[in-house]
């Protein structure tokens, strides 16, 4: 039933610890004037940050802009990084704040009312096209893709703060402790919020399935 095993966890933790040390070395170099080394950090985390931005905003260009802004904000605040937490958690904390501000900004400009942004009711070609097609059986693959598209639509209908925690936990694979650091919440609150978010997603998906049957 369970997905994790202790051996893989240990391997993952060791790997992360090494990465953490490397990140801190790079940061020290950047702070000592070797600015170009910051590109190493950008390259390393751009996929995670862009993915978070893209899943939160649902728009490619906006996500790209937001990802750039996040890295620039991180660079500006690099002196404030005390090294108590991992660089990735610190970076995602910035990402959360920047995303919050960007969503507010876009809402004021009615961006989410326009067609390029897709909620559950509208088609989302750019999002749906990203789903992988796997499995030998085409029918099975089609059904799986259909279900995944349902999940994606369901995810996009959730409020941003609920969606954020799901993306961080289930797509970016952050641990509970990391989530509590990123979101600035205690562990219990993270657990309950994650439970509520998954529950909300389940409800939305089940409602959509029920709608489809009718």
């Amino acid at each position: 039933m369970k997905t994790d095993s202790s051996a893989s966890d240990k391997y993952k933790n060791d790997n992360r610890r090494n990465e953490e040390g490397e990140d801190k070395k790079i940061i020290q170099r950047v702070l000592h004037g070797e600015i170009n080394d910051f590109a190493i950090l950008v390259k390393k985390y751009q996929r995670g940050i862009y993915n978070y931005a893209f899943r939160m905003l649902g728009h490619e260009e906006e996500a790209r802009d937001l990802a750039q802004d996040i890295f620039i904000a991180a660079y500006k605040g690099l002196r404030g990084f005390r090294g108590e937490s991992k660089f990735s958690t610190w970076l995602f904390r910035i990402a959360i704040n920047q995303t919050k501000n960007r969503i507010k900004y876009l809402r004021r400009r009615h961006f989410f009312d326009e067609e390029q942004y897709t909620t559950g009711t509208k088609e989302a070609p750019d999002l749906l096209s990203t789903l992988p097609v796997s499995g030998d059986n085409p029918e099975e693959a089609f059904l799986k893709k259909d279900f995944n598209s349902l999940i994606l639509k369901g995810l996009m209908t959730l409020p941003p703060e609920v969606r954020g925690i799901l993306i961080l936990r289930d797509i970016e694979d952050f641990s509970y402790e990391e989530l509590s650091q990123i979101m600035g919440l205690n562990l219990g609150t993270v657990k309950s919020r994650l439970h509520r978010a998954r529950h909300a997603l389940r409800k939305v998906v089940e409602a959509k399935i029920a709608q489809g049957r009718k």
Partner: protein, 298 residues
């Protein structure tokens, strides 16, 4: 545990963060409750599908754009920000601080009051004398030979005042005329009788501040009383605000309308503090008039 409680634990059970006892209870419950088992299967399916969603990659390497912006920002930074970000900022700042400390030590050591145990008053007196002596040493000998620094009172004053030694025949008449002149010019003076000190006698002494614009006029008037020797030693000048008013007397300015400019204020702030009116900032010269009878002259 009830079905509701069990379903609340799904999320933590899925992530394997439940305690062993609760884990066991949940597993047991799932093995016997069909409804919860179905709900669990649906939960696992949804969360697994969510986990299977691909991590989107940016359409191109955004690090190029980011670095371009960062380098652009560097150029826009002002000089102190660039200095702060320099690799050798810490040794540079440390050297600078050390140099400042050294210079201060040398300066204070030269002044001679760095490790002094004397009271501020004693130190002040010592400084006055020493600065006077320094001035005396630096003056051309031809001037010194006239003996204008003959009196000890003048020595004490010379560090902080422009000393005007007035040589007169009749001292009491001269004192009266000086008092009248000061009243006419609206100058408030601290009058002081000085005890005579052999071999020279200083009879009286007046100390006051006069606006730089009216110094020449005062000198002209003073030369009418007696012979004046001028020792312009004072480098200290207090700045005052003076409000020019209509001429009331032969002196154009009413000096009673003065207010002292407080130290450490910028000109703009000081002007605001002075309030409305046509205030002008005028430097004041501290002057000491020492009256000496002609008989005592060297």
């Amino acid at each position: 545990m009830s079905c509701r409680e069990i379903q609340r634990k799904f999320s933590q059970f899925f992530d394997d963060v439940l305690s062993g006892r609760k884990n066991q209870a949940l597993l047991e419950h799932l093995s016997r409750c069909k409804r919860c088992k179905q709900a669990w299967d649906r939960f696992v399916q949804i969360v697994n599908s969510l986990r299977c969603l691909p991590r989107e990659a940016p359409p191109y390497d955004i690090s190029v754009d980011v670095m371009e912006k960062i380098i652009g920002m560097q150029y826009k930074q002002c000089w102190w920000e660039r200095l702060f970000r320099r690799k050798d900022f810490v040794p540079l700042a440390a050297t600078g601080a050390l140099a400042i400390i050294l210079v201060s030590f040398v300066y204070l050591g030269f002044r001679g009051n760095l490790f002094s145990t004397k009271t501020p008053r004693m130190r002040r007196e010592k400084n006055l004398v020493s600065s006077t002596e320094m001035s005396v040493r630096s003056r051309p000998p031809s001037v010194l030979s006239e003996g204008h620094f003959a009196t000890s009172a003048a020595r004490t004053l010379a560090g902080s005042h422009t000393v005007l030694t007035l040589y007169v025949d009749d001292v009491s008449q001269a004192e009266k005329r000086i008092s009248t002149l000061l009243t006419q010019m609206f100058l408030r003076s601290g009058y002081q009788n000085v005890v005579s000190q052999p071999p020279h006698k200083v009879l009286s002494q007046y100390r006051f501040k006069i606006p730089i614009t009216h110094y020449d006029l005062f000198m002209r008037e003073l030369t009418k009383i007696g012979k004046v020797s001028e020792e312009r030693l004072s480098r200290k000048m207090g700045a005052y605000f003076i409000r020019p008013v209509r001429p009331k007397s032969r002196v154009d300015v009413e000096f009673s309308g003065t207010r002292k400019l407080e130290g450490g204020l910028s000109a703009a702030r000081a002007k605001r503090k002075m309030g409305k009116g046509n205030w002008q900032m005028t430097p004041m010269i501290p002057v000491a008039v020492v009256v000496v009878s002609n008989g005592d002259r060297e």
